[in-house]
Each structure stands twice: as C-alpha cells, then as structure tokens.
C-alpha cells in the first residue's frame, strides 16, 4: 500500500524535474501531465482499502441488502469521482497546451523555451 504513495511521490518529483530542466515545451507539458498523474495516484490510494469492492450497490451485494456490510467493504468513492473530474480537466489542459505548442512552433520555429522570449523585461 505504501508503494502507491512512494510511486505517486516519484511521479510528482519526476514531473517537477521535467518542468524545471527540460528544454522543450512539449516535454514540459508531458511533465505537467506526469505530475498530475502522480497526484491522481495519490488521491486514488487515499480512498483504497485492502480487499475492498467497487462502491456500486449491485450484484450479490444487492441480494443481501445489507447496507452496513456494503459500506464496510466498499472503497471510498469520493476520491474516484475527484480523480475522474481532474482527468477531464487534464484532457482540456493538454489539448490546449498542445495546440498552443503547434502555434508556438509555427511562429518561432522552435520549442525551446530559452528561445521563446520576445516578451520580457
């Protein structure tokens, strides 16, 4: 279980590394995505419980009709909803960032942030 948190932290650090040290806009966008995916893993792990079941009241659980038993066995659904929302947001961010990167390449002929610096001072 703690492996999840370690990997989440690793992904987060990797994303920050990409953002700080990669000299390519697209790679930086990828770094941003890696960073948020680390976050998602962290969020999902928060709601996970050893041997838990999907938080949907269906199947054999439905037959027994024991809500308390179901609640004791199911994993926390809230982080899953949060992660889903966050994934949707990330899709938008990614799409916008990549289309901006295409325009950047068209105007500047490069994706190196060290050369995209006409606005400064």
């Amino acid at each position: 279980m703690s492996l999840n948190y370690i990997i989440a932290m690793l992904l987060f650090t990797l994303g920050i590394y990409c953002l700080l040290f990669k000299r390519n806009i697209v790679k930086m966008v990828i770094g941003l995505q890696v960073l948020t995916n680390g976050l998602h893993l962290f969020l999902i792990s928060l709601g996970y419980r050893e041997g838990g079941i999907a938080p949907i009241l269906a199947g054999e659980m439905l037959g027994r009709g024991a809500t308390a038993e179901f609640a004791a066995a199911a994993v926390d659904p809230v982080p899953q909803a949060l992660v889903l929302t966050s994934i949707v947001i990330n899709v938008c961010t990614m799409a916008l960032a990549l289309s901006l990167a295409i325009y950047i390449y068209r105007h500047y002929g490069t994706l190196n942030p060290f050369q995209i610096r006409r606005l400064r001072g």
Partner: protein, 111 residues
Amino acid sequence: MEFGPGIWGPIVATAVMLLGVAIGYLLLSISRRYMVPKPSVEKLRTYACGEVLEPEEVHVESEQFYSPIRRVFKPFYRFVRPAHTGILSTYLLWVFVGFIMILIAIVVALR
C-alpha cells in the same frame, strides 16, 4: 466615518478643490483678457536653439523617462529587472523558490 485621527471630509475637500480650480480658471481667463495669446508656428515648436525638430524627434524615450529614480534604485534595475528574462524555465524556478520561501515562513509562523 472611520478614517482614523485627523479630519477628512471628502465633500468639503472636493468642494475646496473645485473652488481652487474655479479660481485658477478665473485668474487665467482674466489674464487672457489682458494678454491675448498669439500662437504661431514658431511658438508651438519645441525650442532647440533654432534647430527645427520633427515631433518624433522631440518625443521623450519612454524607458529613460525617470533616469534619476533609476539611479537611486540602481541595484534593483541591475539585478531584479534582468531577472525577468522571458524564459519559461526561469519563471518556473521562481515559482519553486517562492514555494520554499513561503513554506519556511508558514512553518515558522505556525510553530
């Protein structure tokens, strides 16, 4: 009105300011009566020892406008201003430096 010690009546002050403007305008119009301005092309031009300058040449350069103030804050303009490099990576580095500084400040404050 909670404006601390002292007196600040905004309406009175505004009235006084408007009065001042009115008096100034009055003086101006009285003086105009005695000395009618006679604008000519030479008078409207910027005086440059007889040289004829185009309007574009008379225009002050915007960056040099307050050079004395720039001299006073010399360290700022030497170090902080060039730090706005326009490079995205530098700006991200700033964000992390700011993050660490704020974290230290908050840890110190909450302890």
